[in-house]
């Protein structure tokens, strides 16, 4: 008889919660191990690098506040992606939707006749609408014409980036900015309050936490949420039951794009107080939010935790840059590895290892 492996791999239909958490942690661990090779290749001691990363993210009140600041846009955009992914709409366009939110907020702050006290609500409102509108274009193309959502949402990002560039270098270029590609500074009424001296614009954090619970409620307790679950799992059965794929897709992308748009509002109103170069406005939050949503296993409440995790990586990445002289892009490598391992581990979750009895 041939020698055989001491275990056997079998398929399972419904992975348990325990399996999901274990596999996710193992995926993170795998990413950390591979990332340490990258640190090592840069001549840095991986253990030291992780220490620096950790203390840069959680070392003190300031560090923690930086983590929360970075987590804020990830939270809003991540929740939006959770609902899109539930409906199997592959929204890769949160980055562009976020930038559109930033544009709309800047318009309200600088050019609209909205009176001071209504400024902040108006910015969030129009930011939501702009992000939603940006998300609805691919939603319409997919549901009505069957055009691939991954490609259209991704391409819409480049349009958004160049739209921001056009605005800050052209019509919206600030008069008091000595020729820099910035808009003028927002009036004080359009700036979000922060906690103490930190960069934490708590209004946006609050909006994000409320959104997490609201989306959880929508998915699990309402009829549109039921349609999202059904059409995301078996579109044919949904159609037979009289559900409208078009309507649901449009609804999903209104929320998904809208939440990303609000993330953009938070960035311009809470941090920058102006519209500026897109690469300064967003550190690729819209892309990282994909990983945030994936790690949360499409659970909107879990996004609160996973967005903090990636906020910590951003904040810690800043610290590594300063203390170890590593390039900031190392965080991108990091994020990429995590996504890679997470998606790879999807397959592991649908299988289990059975040890053979000897």
């Amino acid at each position: 008889m041939k020698d055989r492996l001491p275990f056997k791999i079998t398929k399972r239909k419904n992975p348990s919660g325990f399996a999901v958490i274990t596999v996710s942690f193992l995926a993170l661990l795998g990413a950390f191990i591979v990332a340490s090779i990258v640190f090592w290749a840069y001549g840095a001691n991986p253990i030291q690098a992780y220490k620096a990363l950790f203390s840069g993210a959680f070392g003190g009140l300031y560090e923690i506040s930086e983590t929360v600041r970075r987590a804020t846009p990830l939270l809003l955009a991540g929740i939006g992606l959770v609902i899109a992914f539930k409906a199997k709409f592959w929204n890769i366009g949160a980055e562009g939707q976020l930038l559109l939110g930033a544009i709309a907020a800047s318009w309200v702050a600088l050019f609209s006749p909205v009176p001071g006290p209504l400024m902040i609500p108006a910015m969030f409102f129009f930011g939501f609408l702009a992000g939603a509108a940006w998300g609805l274009i691919p939603a319409f193309l997919k549901s009505k014409l069957g055009i691939n959502d991954v490609i259209t949402t991704l391409m819409m990002n480049y349009i958004a980036i160049n739209l921001v560039l056009f605005l800050v270098q052209g019509p919206w270029k600030g008069e008091q900015q000595w020729g820099f590609p910035y808009t003028d500074k927002f009036p004080a009424s359009a700036q979000l309050p922060t906690i103490g001296n930190t960069n934490v614009h708590w209004t946006t954090v609050l909006v994000g936490v409320i959104a997490a619970f609201a989306v959880y409620f929508i998915i699990n307790r309402t009829t549109p949420g039921f349609e999202i679950k059904v059409l995301g799992s078996n579109p044919a059965a949904g159609r037979f039951a009289g559900m409208s794929y078009v309507k649901t897709t449009l609804f999903v992308m209104t929320i998904s794009g809208g939440l990303a748009g609000m993330a953009g509002v938070g960035e311009v109103a809470g941090i920058h107080h102006m519209l500026r170069n897109p690469s300064e406005l967003s550190l690729g939050y819209g892309y990282t939010a994909i990983i945030v949503a994936w790690l949360a296993r499409k659970n909107p409440i879990a996004v609160i935790l996973t967005s903090l995790f990636f906020g910590a990586i951003f904040a810690g990445g800043d610290a590594i840059k300063v203390s170890l002289g590593l390039p900031f892009q190392i965080t991108d490598v990091f994020n990429g590895l995590i996504l890679f391992f997470l998606i790879g581990s999807e397959l592991l979750m649908s299988y289990k290892i059975e040890w053979r009895q000897s």
């Binding site: 056997k8 009829t223 078996n234 059965a237 037979f240 039951a241 009289g242 409208s244 053979r356």
Partner: protein, 519 residues
């Protein structure tokens, strides 16, 4: 160890459990070499599970399997193949985009790395010729009919030297002609000394093809008997544990007003070829109108047009006098029309959602299950528990994902959902397709009960016995046209057969008329 006179296969107290169900409960029986041995049982009786254990896909939790007197732990299909066991699954395990030869080469250790199919083709053609299993080695799987795909599966097993061949519900995808061919092949293989295990729930097939039959019920062996010393009635009793009513009680009742009226309906299929032509018929309250016909004569398109899933090119559909032609599925559901779709897994349920969610798949947006956009989960839970009880769905609880249910249970779930919405019209497409005798009978009984309460039923089925046993009137569809509509008491089976083959009723009557005239 091996003894000369020990049976080829012996199952000894084999136990296999799944969450909430014992699929095989201390199963013991033997299979003699060189015989055709049927495994008979209802859906969910544990036939396929047991054979998956023999084929190494599952491992038993208790008991042993002996081959020629020696105990084996078959822990993978690879091991099973080494031991000369081959299996043809009900749902074929073939790569659609590959050719026949490539599918046979796949996973074959003797295939060469470079141009693996070259050497295979010759032997494949040889085998195919020997058993009359003609198939083109270079054809892509997706180009083949279900019957041809099955031939490929059988050839693959033979190629690997299987002398024990397990066939799981092999005839469910075959036309009557193909079934006859398959049975000839099986006889040939038996005469060569191979052993065939034949999983089925069709009594006729057991009687026709097998030497010995083992009846399973709810995971247990009821009996193993020689086919020639039994009959269908006895087998069906053993299979379901009670007598099956082959003739269902049907009261004669006055039919009510028209609930569904179809006038001059035309529609195309997916390839934009005309699929139904000028259909005109009506269904009354408290009446079952059966639509008989060979598969692919416009039945699917008809059901889809009526339920709002496909647009009519011309003609009208009235429900309760109201024109609903080309309305949305939702509008039609709102007119109290229930639909039992043809493909229950793809269209009837959402597999990875819970049974509870599946129960409210249509009613989720109406009172009392939801108010505005809020779903009342407590009420949904109660309703799901009630449907489980009323419709006898075997399931651990309302939170179980629907894809863990067996075919009969899924169909009862769908029927329970549709009937509990108190419809006035039910459009049922092949409602008992692939179900075992008892489950099918239960479904028919449920349809008759609905008829009693004044519901109109449009029954679309390829099963002529089913159509004739419960319909009040029967319309025969051929190439998208109705060949004729007859009252179910006033026809001869032969006439229906001729209409199914394309002879209009008028021609039959004219012929009858002239016959009588000559006399």
């Amino acid at each position: 160890m091996a003894e000369e006179n020990s049976p080829l296969i012996r199952f000894q107290s084999v136990v296999k459990k799944f969450p909430g169900v014992v699929a095989n409960d201390r199963v013991s029986f033997t299979v003699a070499g060189g015989t055709i041995h049927s495994l008979l049982g209802e859906n969910g009786a544990g036939k396929t599970t047991l054979m998956n254990i023999l084929y190494g896909l599952y491992q038993q939790e208790g008991g042993s399997i002996y081959l020629r007197g020696e105990e084996f732990k078959i822990d993978s299909p690879t091991r099973a193949i080494e031991l000369g066991i081959g299996m043809v699954h009900q749902h074929f395990k073939l790569v659609e985009n590959h050719t026949v030869a490539e599918n046979i080469a796949m996973g074959l250790s003797s295939a060469s790395t470079i141009r693996p199919t070259r050497a295979i083709k010759r032997k494949l053609l040889e085998l195919a010729g020997q058993y009359g299993l003609e198939v083109d080695p270079d054809a892509k799987i997706w180009q083949l009919s279900a019957g041809e795909k099955q031939r490929v599966e059988i050839l693959r097993a033979l190629y690997r030297g299987a002398d024990i061949l397990i066939l799981d519900e092999p005839t469910s995808v075959l036309t009557p002609g193909e079934t006859d061919r398959l049975f000839e092949v099986l006889e040939d293989m038996k005469s060569e000394g191979r052993t065939i295990i034949f999983i089925t729930h069709k009594l006729d097939e057991v009687m026709e093809i097998s030497d010995v039959v083992t009846v399973l019920r709810e995971g247990r062996v009821v009996d193993t008997i020689e086919t020639r010393s039994t009959d269908k009635t006895e087998l069906s009793r053993k299979m379901v544990g009670r007598e099956v009513l082959f003739d269902l009680e049907k009261s004669s009742r006055e039919r009510g007003p028209k609930i569904l009226e179809v006038e001059g309906l035309n529609a195309q299929n997916d390839k934009r070829v005309q699929a139904i032509r000028d259909l005109t018929f009506s269904v009354h309250e408290g009446e079952i109108l059966g639509i008989a016909g060979v598969a692919g004569n416009g039945q699917r398109e008809l059901a889809e047009v009526l339920t709002g899933l496909r647009n009519a090119t011309s003609g009208n559909i009235f429900i309760d006098g109201e024109d609903v032609t080309n309305s949305s599925p939702r509008t039609i559901t709102d007119r109290e029309v229930a639909h039992i779709p043809e493909d229950r897994m793809k269209q009837g349920i959402v597999g990875n959602l819970s049974l509870k969610d599946n129960v409210i798949l249509k009613a989720y947006r109406s009172k009392p299950f939801s108010r505005g956009i809020l779903i009342n989960s407590n009420l949904v839970q109660e309703h799901a528990e009630k449907v489980i009880e009323d419709f006898d769905i075997k399931v651990p609880g309302p939170d179980t994902p629907a894809n863990l249910l067996s075919g009969g249970n899924i169909q009862r779930l769908i029927l329970g959902r549709e009937v509990s919405s108190n419809p006035r019209l039910i459009i049922a497409s092949h409602p008992t397709y692939g179900l075992d005798v008892a489950a099918a009978e239960q479904i028919r009984q449920l349809l008759l009960e609905q008829r009693e309460t004044g519901v109109g039923v449009l029954l679309i089925s390829e099963n002529l016995t089913e159509v004739t046993s419960i319909s009040d009137r029967i319309a025969v569809l051929f190439e998208g046209e109705i060949m004729g509509t007859v009252e179910s008491q006033e026809f001869e089976r032969e006439e229906l057969g001729m209409m199914m083959a394309g002879t209009p009723l008028e021609d039959l009557e004219r012929r009858k008329g002239t016959d009588q005239g000559q006399k």
